[in-house]
Symmetry: C2
Subunit: 556 residues, 2 copies
C-alpha cells in the first residue's frame, strides 16, 4: 500500500491501485453532477479553473474534534478516475432530454491529470471549517468528484472519530476489538468500519475480509450457537490431546476436564456455590479446547455465567494446563458486566490460590454486548475487571450520530473568489483558495488553526498574529506561535507528493496526535472548543464579498 | 434479475448472479465463524443437520413494523458460496494456532448444495421474533453463513423500513426522492440505501450507480456550486436556443430572459417586492436552461429565495415558454420550507394570472435540507406547497436508529430443539424448526402471526385457534382466521422454489402490504403492537426446554 512518488518523473495513475471497493467508479455519484457537467460543457465553461474545499461544519458526537480519514481511498479514486464505455452508455440514457455526442466524447477522455489535491494527512485530528481536501482543477472534472469524495470521507472520518472516542474512554491499557460487521450498514459499511476503527485506535477486528484487505489483527472465539449445538460430553468422539511440547498425550481429555470440574465443585472457597453445570456447555468448551488448545477463550454466558460458564471454563483451562497449555480467558456477552467480571476475577483468584496455579487469577476477561462510550464510562465508574472490550453496533454504525456533514464547496473559479451565502450563518462558506496552518503554544499543544489567503505570507514562529473568527467580529485573539505546521500537503499530481503510508503508520499518527491535544478539548462532556480562525486580511475580504453578493431588499 | 426455477431439474448456482457488491464473499465474516467451523470439523460434527432462524427482536424507530429486505442478496450469496484458493490461503493464516490441512480441503469443497432456505418474501411487512429466514443444512456451512446473511438483511430492512415510514408521513401524493449518497455509510451504504429506499416506497434516487444497477428512476438538478460558478450573463457565449418544435430559433435567449425579468420586476402584484436579482444566479439559470430546455429545474436558494432565486427562475421559465418549453420547477434547500414554498406558490400564481400563463401556478416545488419523518410531519402541520421531497442524511443513515438487531440463532440440531437462554427474557430464542402463518380477520387486516412446530397441522380458516405469547403466560387469545397465509416460502435449493422478482414488483408488494395493515399498527406515535404468538403446543415445549436447560442454583 506504500506508494512512492518518483522524483521528477511524471507519474502514471496505474501506480496507484483502484479504490478498495470496486463499486467506487465515476458513476457512483449524484445525477446532478452529470447534468452540471453537461451544462458546464454546453456553456464552454468546463475547463475553467476551479478550487473546491471539502470540509465539515461541526464535530460529531457533541465533541470538539474529528479524526480525518478516507484520504487514501479518495486518492485511489482520483488516480483511477475514468469513465468506461459502459458508464458512457448509461450516462447517455440517464441525462434528461437528449445530450450531444460531443459531451460523451468529452467524458471519454476525462481524467484527473489536470487536477491538484492538497489535503491534511490522513489520521490527523481536524476541526470544523478547515479544508480537509482542497481540490483544484477544471470545473467540469473537479465538480464530478464531489459526491464520491464526500462519501469516502464522511463515514471514514465519522467512524474513526467514534473509535478514537471509545479509546479515550477505555484508556490505553485495554484491548479494544471491533465486532460490528453483522450490524454495519451494508457489506462495506462493515469493511470501512473495520479499517477506520483500527485507524482510530482499536486493536483488532473480527472481520476476516478486513483482516485480509488491510492487515488488521483478527480476533474471535465462538458464539452461543456453538455452545448450544452440543448436548453432552458423551458425544465427543476424538478425546485425545497431545501436550503442548508434544512429549506426551492425554488419551481422555474429556475425563481430565470432568476430574477438574469435580475438584472445583468441591472447593468451598468459591463464592456463591453452584450445583451441576450445563453439560452441553461443558461439551462445547471441551471440544473447542481440543480444536484450539493454544488459544482457548470461552463464551461463558449461554446458560448461566457464575453457576455454569465460569466453572466449566476453569475445568477446561486447568485440564489444558496439565498438558502445558495456557488458556486465554473468557468472554461475557450479557448481564451486569461490572459485577460478573469482578466475580469472575475472584473465581480465578481462588482457583490460583486453591490449586496453586500461578497467574490463573490474571485470566483475560473480554466483555461485549451493546457497549458504547457511555457504557464504558459507566463500567469505569462502577469498577470492573474487564481486560478487553468487543464493541459492535454502536461503534460501527455510529449510532450516537450516524452521519458527518462533510461538504464540498466552490471557493474560487477563474481566480475569482466565490462563496455560498445562506440564511444560516453556519452554512456560509469561506471563499478563496486558502493556506491552512496549525499554531502551537509554549506547552506544545496546538492553540489555533489559521486559514489565510493563498498569497499571504505564512505565519512565523515568534511572530504576533491576529487570528479572527471568520464570521463573528468580536471573537479574535493574538497568538505568538512556538511552532507552525502547514496543514495542507500535496497528495495528487505534483512531482513532489506525499507518500501514502501503511494503515499502521496512519494509526500511529492518529494515536500520537490524540495524545498531543490539550485534554480539555478531548473530554467527553462539555469539551472546550478548539479555535479555528482566519487572518485579518481574509476576514475583511470575506465580509466585503458577502455584502457584494447578498441582494439588498426593499422594504415596502 | 428475474430468475425462474426450471421445474424438475437440478439447478446450477451459476443461474443466480453473484451478490451486487463483489466484496460479499465467504470471508466477509467474523473470524469466530471460521474458528467454530474448524472446531465442528475437528469434532466430526460439521455435517450434523442444523436449523437456524434469522429474526429481529424489536421493530426500529419506535415503530411496530419492519419491511423485510435483503433476501435477493442473501440468495445470491448462498447460491455462489465458494471459497477461492486465495481465501483458503488467508484462512490458513488467520486461524489461531495451526490448522490441519484436512480442514482446508473441507472448505475447498464446501458449497450450499445441502442448504435449504425458507424465507418471508422480500418487501413483506414483518414483526419481531418471526423468522425472516430459516436456514437448514450441515452445521459447518450453515454457521458460516451467519455474519454475511445478518449483514445483508440488517441494513436493507432498516433503511427500507425508514423509507416506508417517510412515505407514510409524506402521503401518497408527494414525490419522494432519495438524495443520500454523499452522507451514506460508505459507497455501498449509499448503493444499498438507494435500492432499499426505492423498495420501501421512494420514487427515485440521485445515485447514478444505483440507477444503473437496479433500474431505479434518477432525479437531480444542479448544486449551489453551479450557481456560484457564474459571474454574470455576459459570460454566456452561445446564446441561441431552438424552439421545442424545432420550427424557430431564438438568437439571444439571454436577452429574452432579461426582458422577462424586467417585466416581472415591474409587476406590482408580486408580494414583497424585490430589487435587482443576483446576476451570477441569473446567468447560471439561463445557462442551465440552455443545456436542459426540456427539464429546467432550478435551485433557488444560493443567494435569496424570494428576492433573487424565484424571480430569476420565473424569468427563465417564461422565456423557455416563449419557445414552447415547459419548465419543471424549483428546489428549496434552506430556510423555512413551509413559508418559502407557500410564497413561491403565490408568486407562481401571480405570474399565471398577470401574464396569462396557464398552469404556471402549478409549477413543481421540491424541498430538501435535512428532512426526516419529524420535519415532514411538522411541514404537514404548518401547511406547505411542496410537491416533492429530496431526503438524504436522515433517511440513508437511518439517523433516528442506525442499526436493526437481526440475529441468527440455532433452533435445532440433529432433530434436537435448542434454545439460547439469557438473563434478559427478550433475548431468549424460540426453539424448534417452525412453520409461520399470518392470520387475517374479518375486515381483511392481519390479526396475528403464529409460529407452530414443524409437525403441527397448519391453522385453518374458520377454526378457533389459541395464540399464546411465547414467554408471557397471561397473554393469549383465541383467533378465528378468515384467511391464513403461510409466511415462509422456499427460496433455495428445492426444485419448486420461489421466483426472485424484479425490484419494481418487490416495491409494489411492499406498498400493497403497507396499505393492508390496520392503521393503528402503522402510526408514527405510540402505535399498537402487532401480536406475534406461538401455538399452545409450542408454548408448552419452550417452557419445558427452558426449565431443562437452566441450571438450578443453590442458595447458601
Amino acid at each position: 500500500m506504500e506508494l512512492k512518488s518518483e522524483n521528477g518523473s511524471t507519474e502514471k495513475s496505474s501506480e496507484i491501485p483502484p479504490p478498495t471497493n470496486p463499486m467506487v467508479t465515476p458513476i457512483l455519484t449524484d445525477l446532478y453532477q452529470l447534468t452540471m457537467a453537461y451544462a458546464y460543457w454546453k456553456a464552454g465553461k468546463h475547463n475553467e479553473r476551479a478550487v473546491f474545499d471539502l470540509f465539515y461544519r461541526k464535530s460529531p458526537f457533541h465533541g470538539e474534534f474529528t479524526v480525518f480519514a478516507g484520504l487514501e481511498e479518495c486518492i485511489r479514486f482520483i488516480a483511477n478516475f475514468k469513465f468506461t464505455e459502459e458508464h458512457i452508455a448509461f450516462v447517455r440514457e440517464a441525462l434528461p432530454g437528449t445530450c450531444e455526442e460531443g459531451f460523451l466524447d468529452y467524458l471519454r477522455q476525462l481524467d484527473c491529470s489536470e487536477v491538484e489535491v492538497y489535503a491534511i494527512p490522513e489520521g490527523s485530528i481536524v476541526f470544523p471549517r478547515v479544508p480537509l481536501l482542497r481540490v483544484e482543477g477544471p470545473v467540469g472534472v473537479a465538480q464530478l468528484l464531489e459526491t464520491t469524495l464526500v462519501n469516502l470521507v464522511n463515514f471514514a472520518s465519522l467512524v474513526a472519530t467514534n473509535a478514537a472516542r471509545h479509546r479515550i474512554v477505555a484508556g490505553n491499557s485495554k484491548l479494544l476489538l471491533e465486532f460490528g460487521l453483522r450490524r454495519a450498514q451494508g457489506p462495506d459499511g462493515g469493511i470501512s468500519a473495520s479499517k477506520y476503527c483500527y485507524m482510530g485506535g482499536f486493536d483488532a477486528t473480527s472481520n476476516v475480509a478486513a483482516g485480509k484487505l488491510f492487515g488488521i489483527p483478527l480476533k474471535g472465539t465462538h458464539s452461543h450457537a456453538f455452545v448450544s449445538s452440543f448436548m453432552s460430553p458423551d458425544e465427543i468422539v476424538e478425546k485425545s490431546l497431545k501436550s503442548a511440547d508434544g512429549s506426551t498425550s492425554c488419551e481422555d481429555f474429556v475425563n481430565l476436564v470432568q476430574t477438574w470440574l469435580n475438584k472445583i465443585q468441591r472447593t468451598k472457597f468459591l463464592t456463591g456455590g453452584f450445583g451441576d453445570t450445563n453439560l452441553s456447555e461443558l461439551a462445547a468448551f471441551t471440544s473447542y479446547a481440543l480444536a484450539f488448545p493454544d488459544n482457548f477463550l470461552a463464551l461463558v454466558d449461554t446458560y448461566d455465567v457464575l453457576r455454569s460458564g465460569i466453572p466449566n471454563f476453569c475445568a477446561v483451562a486447568l485440564a489444558l494446563r496439565d498438558l502445558g497449555y495456557k488458556a486465554m480467558g473468557i468472554r461475557l456477552d450479557s448481564g451486569d458486566l461490572a459485577y460478573l467480571s469482578c466475580e469472575a476475577r475472584k473465581f480465578f483468584q481462588v482457583i490460583e490460590k486453591e490449586f496453586g496455579v500461578p497467574d490463573f487469577g490474571k485470566m483475560s476477561i473480554t466483555a461485549s454486548n451493546d457497549l458504547n462510550e457511555e457504557t464504558l464510562d459507566h463500567l469505569n465508574k462502577q469498577g470492573h475487571q474487564v481486560d478487553a472490550f468487543g464493541i459492535g453496533t454502536y461503534l460501527v454504525t455510529c449510532y450516537a450520530q450516524a452521519a458527518l456533514g462533510c461538504v464540498f464547496k466552490l471557493v474560487e473559479i477563474n481566480n475569482q473568489p466565490r462563496m455560498k451565502l445562506s440564511e444560516d450563518v453556519s452554512k456560509v462558506s469561506i471563499p478563496c483558495k486558502k493556506q491552512c496552518y496549525r499554531l502551537y503554544g509554549k506547552e506544545g499543544y496546538p492553540l489555533v488553526d489559521l486559514m489565510i489567503g493563498e498569497i499571504e505570507p505564512a505565519p512565523k514562529v515568534g511572530e504576533r498574529i491576529l487570528c479572527r473568527h471568520p464570521f463573528n467580529e468580536s471573537k479574535r485573539a493574538y497568538v505568538v506561535p512556538q511552532r507552525v505546521e502547514e496543514l495542507l500537503k500535496c497528495y495528487w499530481r505534483a512531482k513532489m507528493r506525499e507518500d501514502m503510508l501503511p494503515l499502521k503508520d496512519i494509526r500511529d499518527r492518529c494515536i500520537r496526535q490524540l495524545e498531543k491535544m490539550r485534554p480539555d478539548h478531548m473530554r467527553r462532556l462539555n469539551p472546550t472548543p478548539y479555535k479555528v480562525s482566519v487572518s485579518a486580511k481574509l476576514y475583511d475580504f470575506i465580509h466585503f464579498l458577502w455584502l457584494n453578493e447578498a441582494p439588498v431588499g426593499e422594504l415596502q
